[in-house]
Symmetry: C2
Subunit: 210 residues, 2 copies
């Protein structure tokens, strides 16, 4: 029962943070939405930051799973697209982290360190993937180019939803267009492919815009 | 004299917003910092939003100047680097806009529309530049590739400072490393260049990391 309430608090907090932005949601809002007293909420979590940290830990686990590389074989292009989808799905599921990223990390040193660690792991994972592709001759890129490419992939994945939000139309974070984000990452990689794969990828990428 | 006070209010607000983040600075902080009364501040600006809008208008002018293309000739690679430098300098000068971009635009519909307009103009300017280079044979890229490239350039320029901040070391926005941002944009364009230019650019880009 206590455990069920804990889960409900986390689930409702995630939904509210995603919909309104974490800085705009108080523990009172969360208790109200659940129809429980603030006292009951504080019995389970000692502060809003405590809730944020728990959600962040789940997000970290979710993202790590998405970043797993295939074992026992060299990754191919299909592996990249699968990984990209899983990563973007995780980002959307915990999008409150990204909407106010600078602010949230500036306020909480623990999360700042954790986020930096996540970036280091994502960097390592994408680098391994691209080096594998370069080693197999699927892409043609120098070590410097791979380094810069990895950094640009990280930047675009991290800020795609914010870019989509500030750019124009979108009023609700729910409408975030993940396919266009995935398309933009694909297009980063495309110019490093051999001509045949590049045309293939461009055709594939175009289907993401429909 | 009134005009001078107005200028001092704008200058001090910009410095405080940049240093602490706009959501964390109140009109009282600004008045305090200037050693004037809140009443005096309100004589010049009716609210903090009013100050933010004035600064935003200046930023818009500044960025539009940075985005001007050379007249009467086809732009070359040197033009891109010059433009990149000027654009990144403008972003740094008004970095508070970017630090809390999603939040600021969500709170102020007028700024949201203005920012969308800025993006449309920047998009048009970069597209013209790249089409010019493609037309002159300096880069090899399809219309789709140019479209995606422009979008990635915009995203990276818009969120470079935030990426730099959340990624790791930086604790002060003042330390933002513009050269690395410029390097990352260069590396987006590099793979579309002919081999000779690509090697030249990679060598040039590497100097930005020293």
């Amino acid at each position: 029962m206590a455990r069920q309430t804990r889960e409900r608090i986390l689930g409702t907090s995630l939904a509210l943070f995603n919909a309104r932005g974490e800085p705009n949601v108080s523990t009172n809002h969360i208790a109200d939405e659940l129809g429980i007293s603030p006292g009951n909420l504080y019995y389970h979590f000692r502060s809003k930051d405590d809730i944020v940290e728990h959600l962040f830990a789940r997000y970290e686990t979710r993202l790590d799973e998405a970043l797993l590389l295939p074992e026992g074989r060299v990754p191919d292009l299909e592996d990249i697209w699968l990984q990209l989808h899983l990563v973007f799905e995780s980002l959307r599921e915990y999008r409150f982290v990204y909407r106010d990223l600078v602010d949230i990390l500036a306020r909480n040193r623990k999360l700042k360190l954790r986020f930096a660690r996540i970036m280091v792991r994502a960097d390592a994972s994408i680098t391994a993937l691209l080096r594998g592709l370069a080693g197999a001759g699927a892409i043609r890129a120098s070590a410097d180019e791979i380094r810069a490419l990895v950094e640009n992939i990280l930047l675009i994945a991290t800020f795609w939803m914010n870019f989509d939000a500030v750019r124009g139309g979108k009023t609700h974070a729910d409408e975030v267009d993940l396919n266009r984000g995935i398309h933009q990452v694909m297009m980063l990689v495309a110019p490093f492919l051999r001509d045949a794969e590049r045309h293939h990828l461009n055709a594939l990428a175009a289907t993401y815009l429909r």
